[in-house]
């Protein structure tokens, strides 16, 4: 049976206006299930743990990235499937799974296409999507990127570009799998599960980092992509350095904050490792779209 953990504060209380429509749609699809609401931070983890303990095998996070993160931190069984109905302010995880709107999410829950991903541990916390540090983390503290609209975007870009020009690169040292160390002047760094970007690939950490672009035009391009990346950092083709690993230890001088799925989650130095904790996600990603997929002849 489906177990829906609902964050009533997500997306500035969007669920209040949406609840009846949403439950009606789920009912029509035959996946109505049990519906519980969180009462504060950390509650989704507690509810997820209780749901697993009482035998539920499909848990749906109804909210944004914070809700999803709390839910996955409450699941320690491989046989539990996690779904998402994205109604938060930030829905990066859902977007990465190909789920953009709540009606689409309902269809995806009914279709139940599952892909298993290994979780990443940063310190004591588990996450699925992306960890970032450097310029992008600093940017989030100084520029409000939540407001939409052309004028707001132009203002965000101007503020971000100004910030980028004055941002001092961090001296960074990364120890990788105990096999090599990498040192550089760091502008921005991202860590994610490679499989999350390409379901055909193995579960491995992909670490992507960039030094500060010297040319203003290039810097502007990087800033623009950062604003539009949805928390993905340099995991696209702007990275100048990229490699795979199972465990990295990141030190910076000076120490800096790290963000996980768009939320501040600690500071360097930090050890990040791929865990053997797997979660099966209900996804909309079409495997045939990915390089290496063997299609019908």
């Amino acid at each position: 049976m489906y177990y829906y953990i609902v964050n009533p504060a997500a997306g500035r209380g969007q669920i209040k206006n949406l609840q009846d429509q949403l439950r009606g749609r789920l009912d029509k699809l035959g996946i109505r299930g049990e519906w519980v609401k969180t009462t504060g931070p950390g509650d989704a983890t507690r509810l997820a743990k209780a749901a697993v303990a009482s035998g539920h095998t499909t848990i749906v996070a109804v909210g944004g990235d914070d809700t999803v993160n709390e839910v996955i931190n409450g699941i320690d069984h491989d046989n539990v499937a996690v779904g998402i109905i994205p109604i938060g302010t930030a829905n990066h995880v859902a977007t990465q799974l190909g789920i953009i709107t709540w009606p689409q999410a309902c269809e995806a829950l009914a279709a139940r296409r599952l892909t298993s991903y290994s979780l990443i541990a940063a310190g004591q916390k588990f996450f699925l999507s992306t960890l970032t540090l450097g310029f992008e983390t600093d940017l989030d503290k100084t520029v409000d990127t939540t407001t939409a609209g052309l004028r707001a975007r132009a203002k965000q870009f101007a503020q971000s570009l100004g910030h980028a020009r004055h941002f001092n690169s961090l001296k960074c040292r990364i120890e990788v799998d105990g096999q090599f160390t990498l040192t550089c002047d760091l502008f921005t760094l991202s860590v994610a599960n490679q499989k999350f970007l390409n379901p055909l690939a193995d579960n491995r950490l992909i670490v992507a980092l960039s030094d500060r672009p010297k040319a203003r035009l290039k810097l502007g391009s990087v800033v623009w992509k950062t604003l539009r990346s949805g928390g993905q950092g340099t995991l696209d083709d702007t990275a100048t350095t990229r490699f795979l690993a199972d465990r990295v230890v990141i030190e910076t001088e000076p120490p800096t904050g790290i963000m996980v799925d768009g939320k501040v989650a600690g500071r360097t130095p930090i050890a990040i490792r791929l865990t053997d904790r797997h979660i099966r996600f209900i996804t909309e990603k079409i495997v045939a779209d990915f390089k290496g997929a063997i299609g019908p002849k």
Partner: protein
């Protein structure tokens, strides 16, 4: 350096490894995909795919890969299952063992080279000769 697209970089074989120009690596680098080095590396490189030592790269260590292309500076041995190539800006101080070798005008190579045959094409001298009969190709109707 030619930049691969996002789709090229995140293939099913795993993302390629790239070491940027401002980066220094100490230790051995192992990759199941392609490797491109534009920075400084002290240690061995072992790749299932191709290895490219970029124009600005300084590598001190041995390089193992399918095809190895050197445009920068490498002090160490190359073992390539395919071709080892030194471009016009490349310098190699070390031995090369590969199935093929190409050195462009301007490239510098100080060392020994050994052509290594591809094992799957080795035919033993005493292998039996087998006669194979084939049907003539059907005539086309066009």
């Amino acid at each position: 350096m030619a930049r691969k697209t996002h789709d090229d970089a995140f293939g099913a074989a795993g993302a390629e490894t790239m070491i940027g120009a401002g980066v220094t690596v100490h230790g051995n680098l192992v990759s199941e995909s392609d490797v491109t080095i534009d920075g400084q590396l002290e240690g061995d490189v072992t790749a299932t795919g191709d290895v490219t030592v970029g124009v600005s790269a300084r590598v001190k260590g041995n390089v193992h890969g399918t095809n190895v292309t050197v445009l920068g500076h490498l002090k160490g041995n190359i073992v390539a299952r395919g071709e080892a190539s030194i471009r016009e800006t490349g310098q190699v101080e070390g031995d090369i063992t590969s199935a093929g070798i190409a050195i462009n005008s301007g490239g510098i190579f100080v060392g020994r080279s050994k052509m290594q045959t591809i094992p799957s094409l080795d035919i033993p001298a005493d292998a039996p000769i087998v006669e194979v009969k084939t049907k003539p190709a059907a005539k086309s109707k066009s």
